[in-house]
Amino acid sequence: MEHAALVDDARLVEALRAGDERVFEQLTREYHAALLRVAQIYVTSRAVAEEVVQETWLGVLNGIDRFEARSSLKTWIFRILTNIAKTRAQREGRTLPFSALERPDAVPEAAVEPERFLPPDHERWPGHWTSTPQPWPEDRVLAGETRRIVEQAIEVLPPAQRAVISLRDVEGWSSGETCNALGLTETNHRVLLHRARSKVRRALEDYLSEDL
């Protein structure tokens, strides 16, 4: 852990122990979206995920006196969340999506439809584009509606992919922070990120290549 992060964590933990409401509010706002996305890997409904997040903060408050800074505060909070979410999923009779996190490449998935490429046995250009990607019109890229397309594309991703792209690209976390929060290896995190980004790109390409 970086020195600055350690100092920052120590300050936050101290403030929480002292019952500083503003620090609590700041933390809950900062991590809310990320916590929800991770909870949604385990429980399906948004409402249940919200409950899991609420329970997590109770767990954080009740456990803060025992926090020993062996991990970052953030990692510790996400570990509490994951435990609560798993218990909740079991109670709901859901099979835990271990494979989504531990073997994300068990089911192959192409980043781009195979029809976009020449066949592998093509004599001159095997695997070459049949229809090459075209530049996206800048005015449409910048339009507010395009952001909505991105949000929709994220919403329909499988939950583990959605969590990874939300932490990395929406929240701007580093790969290390994302791996710690999700309990993922770097390799599996890249598989999930790759699939998520590829699908969002496809949604954008579909939308931006439509004639208006």
Binding site: A33, L36, L58, I154, D169, G172, R197, L204
Partner: protein, 83 residues
């Protein structure tokens, strides 16, 4: 002159591009990918689209903390503090 090295196809490139952008490709693979990009408009455009995708995703709205949830959290916090 024939090229003895197996060349990276466009279809293969789109599968390793995240590793490339994440700086996780071994040097030899990275150089091969960069050589491919020098001569392939389609793949250059593809990588450009992915970079745009990442920027646009950064502008997506994160899920909101609803005011009900916020109130419930504050109530729980005050409970905990007084308890």
């Amino acid at each position: 002159m024939t090229n003895e090295i197996e060349q990276l196809s466009c279809q293969e490139l789109v599968e390793v591009v995240t590793n490339y952008l994440e700086g996780a490709l071994p040097d030899a693979d990275r150089l091969e990918l960069e050589r491919h990009l020098e001569t392939c408009d389609g793949c250059r455009q593809y990588v450009e689209q992915l970079r745009t995708t990442i920027v646009l995703t950064g502008e997506a709205r994160p899920l909101d903390l609803t005011s009900e949830a916020e109130d419930a959290l504050l109530a729980a916090f005050r409970d905990w503090k007084s308890g």
